[in-house]
Assembly symmetry: C2
Homo-oligomer: 219 residues x 2
């Protein structure tokens, strides 16, 4: 295992849900790999609310889809994640760097909080628009965010792709060699050398000849 060369050239799909703190850490990892080590990622949405929905006993063939739900319906997790995904889909229309900036800003707003600080409610558009002002062409964002049907169609593509692959949690990385696995770690890692070592460890697990299926801590 080389410590100097990143594994997995090509475009790696990373599936995430803004609700998930592990997805936040995974996206920060991917962003360093992207900026410092030349890896390419495609931002894709997976919905935990949909994946865990009681009407979807077989995760590969959902009957309940988040993108088919009325805006604001359901609890905060359902309504908030739908709203955040649609904003994320709007951000993707402004190109890769803009989409990453918006996605990371949104993740940090939700998960990088001081102890005791309450999580923002993603049902409300105020936070999303404020983050769009900081990271995007906000006038274009306003126009794109109003294209509800188009954004839902794009979201559906991600939800369909992740369901077909059997994604069950986030972050999940789909490598260019076909390996795909959930990758959950508790500590934020942003130092470029440590990021690369962690990534190489993850990919070494997935490509080992023993065909490792699961490493999961007891607790």
């Amino acid at each position: 295992m080389s410590a100097s060369l990143p594994s997995q050239a090509g475009v790696i799909d990373v599936y995430f849900d803004f609700l998930c703190p592990y997805a936040w850490r995974g996206l920060e990892l991917a962003d360093v790999l992207r900026r410092e080590h030349g890896l390419k990622f495609r931002l894709r949405h997976f919905s935990l609310v949909q994946g865990n929905h009681k009407e979807n006993p077989d995760r590969k063939y959902p009957t309940w889809w988040l993108d088919h739900q009325v805006a604001g319906a359901g609890g905060d997790a359902q309504a908030g994640s739908l709203n955040a995904f649609l904003a994320g889909q709007a951000a993707l229309r402004q190109g890769e760097d803009a989409a990453w900036a918006f996605t990371l800003a949104l993740f940090r707003a939700v998960h990088q909080r001081a102890a005791g600080e309450s999580a923002p409610n993603l049902k409300n558009d105020g936070l999303l628009r404020s983050l769009a002002e900081q990271t995007l062409d906000v006038e274009q964002f306003d126009r794109d965010f109003a294209d509800d049907a188009g954004l839902r169609a794009s979201l559906h593509e991600d939800l369909q792709a992740s369901a077909s692959l059997g994604v069950f949690g986030t972050p999940t990385f789909h490598l260019t060699d076909g390996n795909i696995a959930y990758f959950r770690f508790a500590n934020l890692v942003t130092e470029p050398g440590a990021v690369l070592a962690l990534w190489n460890l993850y990919t070494a697990v997935l490509t080992d000849g023993a065909r490792i299926e699961t490493i999961k801590r007891a607790k």
Copy 2:
């Protein structure tokens, strides 16, 4: 990560259930680490039937214990695994090498079968005694296997320890540094160099500063 030195000196507890094909592969791995690379393992029992029992919603505090069940009660998995565990506890009374020989012989009888060959029924003592004849002092085995209360007490210690640790599947390795995780891989690995590389990869995941909690394939 060195490829030449085994990680984790001291005695590593390995939890397993004879019902589990992944535990078989894990025990074969541990046996090579033990014989070829000087690692030390303690054989310990974890019951999947108990861990998944509907009367045990909190796996850390079971109310239904396998060692409290009547011999032969329940389905084949319950009755067979109890019987196999008691035989395994009897084998442990003949020392480490004998216990390993019996444990591996039993795992191979259950899981290393030709395609289409049916699994043996562990409820019947014939197989267990035949394996004891091949690997143990069979007269001592007969005496020890008759000590039902003593064997159940030893089994209970393992089931209590694994419950307290939150073990949920097998094989689970409890390293001497406190890290403990389920380790599931699909391909049997017995070549000493490959065994050591796989073990070092597993321990590298558990000791990484990111505190990796889960790597699990989507499928």
